[in-house]
Symmetry: C2
Subunit: 253 residues, 2 copies
Amino acid sequence: MSEIIAVINQKGGTGKTTTSHNLGYGLARKGKKVLFIDLDPQGNLTFSCGINEFEHSLADVIYQDKSLNETIIKLDEKIDLVPTDIELAHTELFLTQQDDREFIISKALKETAKRYDYVIIDCQTSLSVLTINALVAATKIVIPLQMTILSLKGLDLVLSTIQDVKENLNKHLKVAGILPVMIDRRRKLSTEVIDIIVGNFDIHVFKSQIGSSVRAAEAPSFGKSVLEYAPSCNVAKHYGLFVKEFLSITKKL
Amino acid sequence: MSEIIAVINQKGGTGKTTTSHNLGYGLARKGKKVLFIDLDPQGNLTFSCGINEFEHSLADVIYQDKSLNETIIKLDEKIDLVPTDIELAHTELFLTQQDDREFIISKALKETAKRYDYVIIDCQTSLSVLTINALVAATKIVIPLQMTILSLKGLDLVLSTIQDVKENLNKHLKVAGILPVMIDRRRKLSTEVIDIIVGNFDIHVFKSQIGSSVRAAEAPSFGKSVLEYAPSCNVAKHYGLFVKEFLSITKKL
Ligand SMILES: Nc1ncnc2c1ncn2[C@@H]1O[C@H](COP(=O)(O)OP(=O)(O)OP(=O)(O)O)[C@@H](O)[C@H]1O
Ligand SMILES: Nc1ncnc2c1ncn2[C@@H]1O[C@H](COP(=O)(O)OP(=O)(O)OP(=O)(O)O)[C@@H](O)[C@H]1O
Ligand SMILES: [Mg+2]
Ligand SMILES: [Mg+2]
């Protein structure tokens, strides 16, 4: 049974793309077959995978010109990618005119997902119709969260959107958890924000918190995940632990 | 002649809201009359100004139910705010059906702007029709940029969008400059990214770079800019220098 993971947060710069990339790479390293779907018109995940040119993209699938299979790029033995470019931004207007606009991605994934253990969808920074598509297609959600007040403010909004989708469009949707990212343990704010989340939301907070390292900011220009680019840095170690915790948490959900 | 400043970057979490808030507060401290316009449906600037409830918002202006004047909240003697909430997200669909959709904000500002020295528009993290509205209304642009590879990748896209608007919709638009934010001077990556920008783009890079401080991440929950909340921290000092440099740069443009 394939797991379809939506990595979501409408707050900007909270590590969604970095988390999508390293979660997928980490799962593949454990022998899982992984498909990345880049659902952000800015194509950061596509770029971070070292892909700059491609014949077909996710936009072609949304316009229903191409099947998902026709867009898939093989990154290595275990990891495939459906790439995206800015053309995806124009699909939003097209989608608003479709009756089944929230189901385009889940329909496209129906057959393809069966070939993978995990499909990881990197979402854009807004609760757009594309992001709703990811929530409707997903089985599990990961919410990367920076430990700041503005990031915490955004959490309410993303959780209520998930609740809406769960009640009306996708009853099987579950939140695997909130992943604290770019943590600085010396900072009182980090621990305060985590206390607030744990105290106010009945939601799992991953114990494997991701620290901060310039290696994570450098990795994309080498077309590699930080796990691959700088395996001995703190962020790589933390993502390694996160992947383990993710596997054990999602088994029980 | 009022200056209308669009603070823009479609990459997430690059300090747009924090920069909008501190630029406005810093200008007001120098005796300028400032109007904030929160153009992000997530309403981070509204929240950061300590505003949680309001009768009318920017969405009402876009639907042309209310004039801009009817939404204005007085924050203090020199600073006013046009607040926003999630309702703004629904205006995008409405706007796509209007012939003059890129001019809604500039038309609304036409009379109101005259009462202010500076109007500061905090943009959302996407190059949406709302963000285009900001570029069409603006006289000057500030682009806050994190010193990472993915942030640099986004710069091409924002500059080409600005060029389009300049050629087709707003000939007076000028870029005041790129503001490096969340700088860690020990990091080679910060200096490398700045060198790349200076080397490849014929665009001003503000010398007053903004460092990193947990005070900046805490300030929004007190409804204050970091200049007001923690005036002696590094980020407050850097924003103080930035405001001075901004005034001298924009005088010559
Ligand atoms: N653990 C980390 N340490 C240091 N830098 C990081 C870390 N994780 C991510 N970054 C960098 O911070 C920036 C934001 O991260 P990322 O792009 O993954 O967030 P995002 O939520 O996908 O952003 P967007 O809202 O633009 O989609 C990127 O430049 C990235 O390389
Ligand atoms: N100089 C700084 N030092 C430390 N933290 C900062 C600094 N500037 C901003 N922050 C924090 O980093 C996060 C991102 O900043 P901010 O919200 O201003 O960026 P943004 O570009 O407006 O994000 P979005 O894409 O969501 O609109 C916020 O939680 C903010 O409080
Ligand atoms: Mg991203
Ligand atoms: Mg913002």
